[in-house]
């Protein structure tokens, strides 16, 4: 006993998308209707030819301009991350420098004093005045 077979069933059969429970009914229909069987077989072949015609595109290298099409937003995100990293680094540097100068200020002062003393000594020296 054959259930009513719809055009939807036949298309799905050609596409291999027919639900399992419809297989028997459609196969029986096609056996009894050679014209439909021939037509559906030609649809299936057509789909195969379509795939073999265009599947080669899948293996072509993707042109640079298409890869670039995805870059603007990506680049923006990268730039944002880079900005935060740079900001973090800058804050760290400032903090580190301040910490350093706080710890190092006596040394700097001492160095400064030494330099001043040396300059004073040089200024007073008659040889360096002539040079």
């Amino acid at each position: 006993m054959t259930d009513a077979v719809s055009e939807h069933d036949l298309q799905a059969y050609a596409d291999g998308k027919l639900p399992e429970d419809r297989h028997a009914a459609v196969a029986e229909w096609l056996a009894a209707h050679p014209d439909d069987a021939e037509r559906i077989e030609s649809y299936r072949r057509l789909a195969e030819e379509l795939r073999s015609t265009y599947d080669g595109v899948l293996d072509e290298p993707v042109p640079e301009r298409l890869q670039r099409a995805l870059r603007p937003a990506h680049a923006r995100r990268v730039a944002l991350v880079a900005m935060w990293v740079a900001l973090g680094a800058a804050l760290g540097a400032v903090a580190g420098w301040q910490l350093h100068s706080m710890q190092a200020s006596p040394v700097v002062a001492a160095d400064g004093a030494t330099v001043l003393a040396r300059r004073a000594a040089v200024a007073r020296s008659p040889t360096s005045a002539r040079a």
């Binding site: 055009e7 939807h8 298309q11 799905a12 050609a14 596409d15 998308k17 037509r39 030609s42 649809y43 057509l46 789909a47 030819e49 379509l50 795939r51 073999s52 015609t53 265009y54 599947d55 080669g56 595109v57 899948l58 293996d59 072509e60 993707v62 042109p63 301009r65 298409l66 890869q67 099409a69 995805l70 603007p72 937003a73 990506h74």
Partner: protein, 166 residues
């Protein structure tokens, strides 16, 4: 994997579909480029966990419709005159050219359904969702596309409306 990486992975499939949809390589890649740029700009509208491929092909469909409409404004015959194009190198050259030409002669909406079903191997439900049409419309367009293409391949007259390519 994030959406960006998945979009990159879908580029070859977009290109395959676009090539079959519009015919020549340069125009197809223009379509893909517009699609990718638009997808990037609209990525916040994509709902995570849903079918990204269907979403991307919907974007491509909309971009394509807009491009065809724009082309028609500048050249009313544009859509009726598919360009001769460089073809995929494999397969029987004559058959490939005929199939190609047959595809470009299908009405655009039937072509889209046939290509999504056969090349992308989408389910009919996915095709309906991608193109924003009822599933019954998917089935009738698929059926008509196949019958037309089959008649063309058999060398039967399909439509008196077919224009001679200059």
């Amino acid at each position: 994997m994030n959406e960006a990486q998945r979009l990159v992975e879908l580029i070859p499939r977009l290109r395959r579909y676009a090539r079959a949809l519009v015919g020549d390589r340069a125009t197809a890649d223009d379509l893909v480029q517009d699609t990718l740029e638009r997808a990037w700009a609209k990525l916040h509208l994509y709902r995570r966990g849903t079918d990204l491929r269907a979403w991307l092909f919907t974007v491509m469909h909309n971009v394509h419709v807009n491009r065809v409409r724009a082309a028609r404004v500048t050249d009313p015959l544009e859509d009726e005159m598919p360009e001769l194009a460089q073809r995929a190198p494999q397969g029987d050259a004559l058959l490939v050219r005929d199939l190609d030409r047959g595809i470009t002669r299908l009405p655009a909406e039937q072509r889209a359904v046939l290509l999504l079903v056969t090349l992308e191997e989408m389910s009919y439900e996915q095709v309906a969702r991608t193109l924003g049409i009822p599933i019954g419309t998917v089935m009738s367009r698929l059926s008509r596309a196949r019958e037309k293409l089959r008649a063309m391949m058999l060398g039967q007259p399909v439509s008196a409306k077919l224009k001679v390519v200059k």
